[in-house]
Amino acid sequence: MLVDMRLAVVGKGGAGKSVIAATLARTLARRGHRVLALDSDPLPGLSLSLGADVPAEPPLLAAAERGENNRWRFIHGVGPVRAIQRYATDAPDGVRLLQIGKVTREGMAPVMAATQAFYMTIHGLGRAATFHDWVILGDLPAGPRQTAFDWAPYAERYVLVVEPTWQSMLTARRITRIARAARAEVEMSLVVNKVAGEQDAPRVADFLDLPVAVAVPVDEGVRSAERAGAALLDHAPDSPVVRAVERLADHLEGSSIH
């Protein structure tokens, strides 16, 4: 099946972006899609939720250097496609994972090359024929900052992860407005997470004026997986959250078949 799924998972801090992005990435991979997961959070998150081993240093560190005028550029022989082929790492179920530089004790300076290489890679992705039939799925850090500063240029669809709380709803509205101001045609899929009562999902949908793609219940399995430091799919494969992500995958496939 030819898919055209270019997604960015966004929302308030702690809304469940990484858990949902990771479970979705593996679910789609199990269905036969080729999946590239883009981790653009300088703090750890996605790789733990995927159940992937993370190298101590971001592999992309080797991909960029400073050229003339001190400006960052790819090293000789590397472009966006090569960067992914060479520096993405394996995650369970065949997902490929490309990570931004992760904050170190000395701050972001030591991983600046990886941060820059990541930015150049995602900005070059749009033109890359090599990945046209891949699912590209970005997990963004909390809030609207990366959306505002163009850290998901590949995204044709935002997966908004929203809890039924004021803070989470206001955050989602800010992100939606910023994303649409930059690109009016971008699609939105609303995932209401940590739903406890019947009114929760309709309330969020109403506030954001978006239909609910899926409602994900509050689930003890997620907490238990987090405490165990394991991926949800490995720790609690029958969790209601896993089933909800299956429905999200159906919705996304249904929205993107050509």
């Binding site: 300088p42 703090l43 505002a148 803070q167 800010r174 430091g229």
Partner: protein, 256 residues
């Protein structure tokens, strides 16, 4: 006392910052709360209604001027407070850094620098308190926004992603030269969870600066659109935050 509050997304930074600010103000201290998150929500946990949020003033970019030595504020702290702060319940004054759409460059660097200078300008008087709520990112530490804080509390929940984020932030704060850095355990449901945080803190030689229990009053407050302190003033988590606030920023014992 100038206190920065950091931690993973959703760990409870804003709930704790807002509640602390209110409780310290009730105790008679002058409290300046700074929302340093580019996704500002601190007004809500201070008890400023959501309807007022869209009209909230943010710090303008012209408060900071570059000089040969670095940068300086173009107005006194009192002027800044008078023209750009919002008054919340109990007399807390709130300054909001900015939303990303207010940045005219590719980052919020200038606004981070403005907040840094404002924190610097807050007096060392024990009756004056400044609480900085931060974003779930290393920006405040890697950009040095929090460098003039006396202490940083990294709010952690009892699971690995959250603890690991707290640890990395604590290391950055130590390297920035903050005098005191500690973890605060939040949303603790039982003894076993507390022990997990204690063991982690010990293993990484970090101070545990306090413990806040899981409290249904907090999500309840969010549903009701109220500050946790107004929704459930006698909740166990409020008591715990009160104790932490006074231990870390109370008048006279801030450096105990």
């Amino acid at each position: 006392m100038k206190l920065a509050i950091a931690g993973k997304g959703g760990s409870g930074k804003t709930s704790i910052s807002g509640t602390m600010a209110r409780l310290l103000a009730r105790g008679g201290q002058n409290v300046l709360a700074i929302d340093g998150d580019s996704n500002p929500n601190l007004a809500l946990t201070l008890g400023i209604p959501a309807e007022r949020m869209s009209a909230m003033p943010v710090l303008p970019p012209d408060l900071l001027r570059r000089t040969t030595e670095g940068a300086e504020l173009t107005q006194s702290l009192d002027q800044i407070k008078a023209s750009h702060s919002v008054s919340g319940p109990d007399g807390v004054q709130l300054l909001v850094m900015a939303l990303p759409q207010h940045a005219n460059t590719g980052c919020l660097c200038h606004m981070h620098a403005t907040v840094r200078s404002i924190i610097d300008a807050v007096s060392e008087d024990g009756n004056d308190v400044c609480i900085l709520d931060t974003e779930a990112s290393p920006e405040h530490l890697s950009r040095g926004t929090a460098i003039y804080a006396d202490a940083m509390l990294a709010i952690v929940e009892p699971y690995f992603k959250s603890l690991e984020t707290g640890r990395r932030m604590a290391a950055l704060a130590n390297d920035l030269g903050l005098e005191r850095v500690a973890l605060v355990a939040n949303k603790i449901r039982d003894e076993r969870e507390l022990e997990a945080v204690q063991a982690f803190a010990e293993r990484h030689e970090l101070e545990l600066g306090g413990t806040v229990p899981f409290d249904a009053g907090f999500p309840g407050a969010e549903h009701a659109g109220l500050a946790p302190l107004d929704f459930a003033p006698d909740a166990p988590a409020i008591k715990a935050i009160d104790e932490i606030a006074h231990r870390w920023a109370g008048n006279g014992n801030g450096r105990a």
